[in-house]
Symmetry: C2
Subunit: 152 residues, 2 copies
DNA sequence: CTGACTGCAAAATCTTTGCAAAGAC
DNA sequence: GTCTTTGCAAAGATTTTGCAGTCAG
C-alpha cells in the first residue's frame, strides 16, 4: 500500500494557499473531494468519488459536474493524477505520495512495487530533452511473477 | 520516428491467418484499417482513421462503427496498441514496430515518442532482481509539452 | 457587496449496439 | 446458401457547458 508522505493538514494547507493565490474560493465540496482522494488508497473514477461523498456526507449538496471541475483543478495543480485503465473513463489518485512503479503479474494479478533511482533520473533527463514539463510518470512491467513461475 | 521492423506483406499475411483460425472474414474495410495504421506513423483516434480512409479511398463504404470494431479486434490480436490519456478518446498505433515509450501532453493530448537504452536495460535488471519473467512494459511520462507551455 | 462556485439539466463527445442488407467463403 | 460483417441510426456512457441562485471573502 503506498504511503502518503505528506500529512493531510499540509495538503489542505497548500491547497488553500493555491486557491488564495489564484483568487479561487475554498468550498466544502472542494475540500471533501480532496479529502476522499487523500484518505482512500486506490484509484477512483469521478463517479466513484461522487458516490463516496454522497454516502459519507449525505448532508452536503454535490453535483457530478463539480467533481469533474474539481478534479481538473486538482490535476492541474499536481495534487492528484489521473490514469486511464484501458476501458472507458479516467481514474484519479492522490499524487503527492511516494512515487513507485509496478510489476504486474499476468497469472495471479499480483502487484509488486519498485522504485529505481536510475530510471527516475533518466525520465527527468528525457523530459528535459523534449522541453516537456513532467507532472507524472507511470511504468508498468507485465509478466509472470516468481511465485507463479514456481507453480509451472 | 519508429521503424516498422515487420513488412506489410507479413503483417497482412498474419492477419489473414488469424482471421481464418478464428473463422472471421477478410474484408476490404479490415484490410484498409490495418494498412492505414501500418503506413502512417503516429497515433490515431478512431475518427482520424475513419477520415483518412474516407479521403484516401472515397469509393469504399465505411462506417465509424466498423473502425471501432476492427480496432478492438486488432488490439486483442496484439497487432495494434492503444494509449489513452489526458484528452478524451483513445489513440491507436501499430504495435509490432520497435519498442518505444511515450510522452503524453495533458493539455493537447499530443504524444511524443522516445526510446532510451538505459531505461530498457534497467527494466530488465529490475525484472531479474524480482525473479519476474517480463513479457511487456509500458512507460508514460505525462506533463505539458513544449508547444502548450509556449501558449501559456 | 462582488465575483466565484454550485447544482441542474441540457448539450456535446465518444463508443457501442440492434438490425436488415451486403458480402466472404 | 450460410454465416459473418457492414452501415446506419439510435442508444449508451462519459464529460462539459450555460445559467440563475448561492456562498465565500
Amino acid at each position: 500500500m503506498p504511503q502518503n508522505i505528506v500529512s493531510y493538514a499540509d495538503v489542505l494547507n497548500d491547497f488553500k494557499k493555491l486557491l488564495k493565490v489564484n483568487k479561487l474560493k475554498y468550498t466544502k465540496q472542494r475540500e471533501l473531494i480532496l479529502e476522499i482522494i487523500y484518505n482512500n488508497d486506490g484509484h477512483f473514477t469521478p463517479e466513484d468519488i461522487y458516490n463516496l461523498i454522497k454516502k459519507s456526507y449525505p448532508e452536503v449538496k454535490l453535483g457530478i459536474a463539480t467533481v469533474y471541475r474539481t478534479l481538473t483543478l486538482l490535476e492541474e495543480s499536481n495534487i492528484v493524477s489521473s490514469i486511464s485503465f484501458g476501458a472507458q473513463g479516467k481514474k484519479y489518485e492522490f499524487g503527492l505520495g511516494e512515487h513507485h512503479d509496478h510489476l504486474v503479474c499476468l497469472k495471479c494479478g499480483g502487484i509488486e512495487e519498485f522504485f529505481d533511482e536510475i530510471i527516475e533520473q533518466r525520465q527527468e533527463d528525457i523530459a528535459k530533452e523534449h522541453n516537456f514539463r513532467m507532472s507524472n510518470h507511470i511504468m508498468k512491467i507485465t509478466g509472470i511473477c516468481s511465485v507463479c513461475q514456481a507453480k509451472e
